[in-house]
Amino acid sequence: MNRVVEVADLTKRFDTVAAVDGISFAVDAGEIFGLVGPDGSGKTTTLRMLGGVLTADGGRAAIAGYDVLGDPEAARHAVGYMPQGFGLYDDLTVDENIRFFADLFEVSSREREEKASHFLAAYGMSPFRRRLAGQLSGGMKKKLALVCSLIHTPRVLLLDEPTTGVDPVSRREFWSILYSLVGQGVGVVVTTAYLDEAERCHRLALMYRAGLLFCGTPAELKATLPGTVLSVSSPEARRLQRLLEHAEGVLSVLALGDAVHLVVDDPVRRLPQLRARLAAEAVPCGEPVQVAATVEDVFVEAVESAETRA
């Protein structure tokens, strides 16, 4: 595989606080790699170091083989970096914004025109080339920012929370764009605080308090959860939660709006016990079914067991 991002023991301190504490991961060409975690966990700091706008205090990072510290210019040309609140010029048109970013990277006008036409058509934006960026919808602005990040044909795309505040329809459209980009061999590093977006990544790292809790595919991540998740639908989810909280073999109970999710140690043993209990208590509910663990289930478990160890 063709490694396009390599991060080893990367560290950044602000005063005495480690914002990123010795993290390591690698991303291949054609791969979407997610840095997934809550606000303040170090995602943006990591991306800023990879994008060459922040200098690391320790460790190393390379983009397309170029060391971001040793060869920052080459690394910067190999990377398209879309920070949060990407700096589009609201009083420039779509075309003028693209031209500005193309000029920054010394892209020829012919190549710029070719790329701009291609991407704008692909993203349904061709009719808006003369519109001021400030007059675009939120979803369109994100797409324009993406086009500007891609105009110099980077091998690696760094996206910092590109879908925050974006509704699910635009979010899905944005992801389908990412899939088509990686189909052309670009490597993507994307940060998100939406845990459900983790499932869309080919591989991901869970980031928590400046470190990585886990790094691997979504399936590998879910396999780390001790126990099995069962779902029981019920109009009285809260009552069900209280009833099952301390039941034998139940590791945790989460009340959702119209169901509870239980993590049990052994579904073969616990399912009959659970059915008997539910029948005896006469709580209105559906049949317990095994469901796939969510990334949030795993994240909560990982954080709680990390805190127990500490």
Partner: protein, 318 residues
């Protein structure tokens, strides 16, 4: 006051801005203590509806009562009985924890012994005992969020509006937060949640989905998942993926298909026959199908299907 004293009753609510109809004849009713999710794309009329229900703007026609008061004729009564909390916390970072609480208490006219008691309650509820005099700006995200909740409910509102309350918060704190919300609902507070996060929507008892000013769906999360999609959702693992996507889009029994992570999601009106036929169909085109099975649609699938009117179509279309 009517008999819906502590909840929300909306009848044929309309709000026009000039010739544009932002909210178009919306009707629904929430039960006491219900956690009610209000979802919709940007520009769907969702925020306008919330502003109407908070008594901040008046309706063009139709009516709504919140906690028993009419939003059109008694907006100030409505505002005294609601709480509002946004993920963009409106806390003052350079005030202490108790100073923020007292400030918001003052805004809602909570005074004297009642204020002291409520501040103590909020500190306990938020898990901030011992940090009463900490600077708000120095609190971790999860604590800040619970403090913001405390500020929003200091005056014992009957209806609580939450706008993306847990976005960006770590998952452990998020679960604690929803536990608090469930407790408030247990005590009869009606909770109105607006969010783009489908995992927040899962915590709601019922969901309303708004698109282009109209309500396009109303039901429990489970009901919406069972009924919103035309057909069933299939997970297809195959290699090579791109070729598999192209082939599936032309396959019989498949209405549409899209990439999802390292697999494909496809919608089929006749899932069982699709499962029987697709592996051979793909194999004939040199694509190996490792797995094909029915999966439960996510709330995001539901949202996209109902707001676009054509489930999953157009994904990955470039």
């Amino acid at each position: 006051m009517n008999n819906h004293a502590s909840s929300v009753l909306v009848e044929n609510l309309v709000k026009k801005f000039g010739s544009f109809t932002a909210v178009d004849r919306i009707s629904f009713e929430t039960r006491l203590g219900e956690i009610f999710g209000f979802l919709g794309p940007n520009g769907s009329g969702k925020s306008t509806t919330i502003r109407l229900l908070c008594g901040l703007i008046s309706p063009t026609s139709g009516s709504a009562t919140v906690a028993g008061f009419d939003i059109g004729t008694e907006p100030e009564q409505v505002r005294l009985r609601i709480g509002y909390m946004s993920q963009k916390f409106s806390l003052y970072d350079d005030l202490q924890v108790v100073e923020n609480l007292r400030f918001f208490g003052g805004l809602y006219d909570v005074r004297g012994a009642e204020l002291d008691e409520r501040v103590k309650w909020a500190v306990r509820m938020a898990g901030l005992s011992g940090r009463e005099h900490a600077m708000t700006g120095a609190l971790a995200g999860g604590l800040k969020q619970r403090l913001a909740l405390g500020c929003a409910v200091l005056h014992r509102p009957k209806v609580l509006f939450l706008d993306e309350p847990t976005s960006g918060v770590d998952p452990v704190s998020r679960r604690r937060f929803w536990e608090l919300i469930h407790q408030m609902a247990d005590q009869g507070v009606t909770v109105f949640v607006t969010t783009h996060y489908m995992d927040e929507a899962e915590y709601c008892n019922r969901l309303a989905l708004i698109n282009r000013g109209r309500m396009v769906a109303l039901g429990t999360p489970g009901e919406l998942k069972r009924t919103a999609l035309a057909g069933e959702l299939l997970l297809v693992e195959c290699a090579p993926l791109e070729a598999g996507l192209a082939a599936l889009r032309g396959a019989p029994e498949i209405a549409d298909a899209a990439v999802f992570g390292s697999a494909l999601h496809a919608r089929s009106p006749r899932a069982q026959s699709a499962i029987a036929e697709i592996p051979a169909y793909l194999a004939a085109r040199g694509i190996e199908c490792a797995r094909i099975e029915v999966i439960e649609p996510s709330l995001e699938d539901v949202f996209v299907a109902l707001t676009r009117g054509e489930p999953l179509a157009g994904e990955n279309s470039q």
